[in-house]
């Protein structure tokens, strides 16, 4: 039993060896936080549906390196986002910027809630006008 436990623990420990980007890239905790936030919001285009933070394909590693370089150079988050969008399109950002093209993405959820609300209100109003016990709703 004890042996099994040791085995299990060592297997768990081994998996950390495969973790991406062990250790910190920046000494400055503020820069490190910015770096981690940025890389978690960039789509890995080679392996879509993963961020470059979670992926270890070469392109993701290259982009992490580029982003680290740009932070080092003192570029702003907007400049870094622009760098990515110019090369890979708006699709590269998990948090699309609020621009003309992406406005519909940002507004659609609210629009859907409003439309759904209206539909719901209509149904409820209609149901309330029915005589109690009549569930058919056919006569409208």
């Amino acid at each position: 039993m004890k042996r099994l436990l040791v085995l299990a623990v060592s297997i768990l420990l081994v998996s950390t060896a495969f973790a991406i980007d062990q250790g910190k890239v920046f000494d400055d905790p503020e820069m490190q936080a910015r770096y981690e936030k940025l890389i978690s919001e960039v789509r890995c285009l080679q392996c879509q549906n993963q961020s470059i933070k979670d992926s270890n394909v070469t392109l993701a590693a290259d982009l992490r390196r580029e982003i680290a370089r740009m932070i080092e150079e003192g570029q702003t988050d907007e400049q870094i986002a622009e760098f990515l969008v110019v090369r890979y399109g708006e699709f590269a950002l998990y948090r699309p910027r609020t621009t003309g093209k992406t406005l519909v993405l940002w507004l659609a959820p609210f629009l859907l809630v409003v439309v759904g609300g209206f539909a719901l209100a209509r149904v409820v109003k209609h149901r309330m006008s029915l005589p109690i016990g009549d569930e058919s709703g056919e006569e409208g």
Partner: protein, 177 residues
Amino acid sequence: MNRFVWPLVAVLALLVFLVMGLRHGDPRALPSPFIGKPAPEFELPTLNNPEVSIGTKTLAGDYALVNVWATWCVMCRAEHPFLLELAANKTIPIYGINWRDSRPEAIRWLNDLGDPYLASAYDEDGRVGIDWGVYGAPETFLVDPEGTVIYKHLGPLDPVIWQREFAPRIAGGGPGQ
């Protein structure tokens, strides 16, 4: 019956979008933000000779293909015979960007399989690949004589794609031969 009409319409609309999405083809193929824009500037040593460099200037003056390839890229092997065919027919000048590869292995690949490229740039650390928005080799860019990117294809080239997408774009005043 009336109460079913609108939900039905909504479901049908969703179905139409679903079918459109499925027919869209390769979901990995994204519209390149470079179409209609000048080809990204680059300057790299050639694969065969680190002393010689090629870059954006090399492309100027003629329609040209810029093909991003690597020896680790399985589909690059698949498209290679067609690139050789294009080169043999002198259809269009082809330049390679050898992306994130090992120089000896890439040279061996060209020696073994044939070299369709006028020259290949050696992009060891992937910097130029990033500037060109490369995210999956093989990728092929069509650049016009003014140095503007006019088309990009993701995935292996073949005669069908060539006839459908590339040939019509270079038909008007295309390459000499």
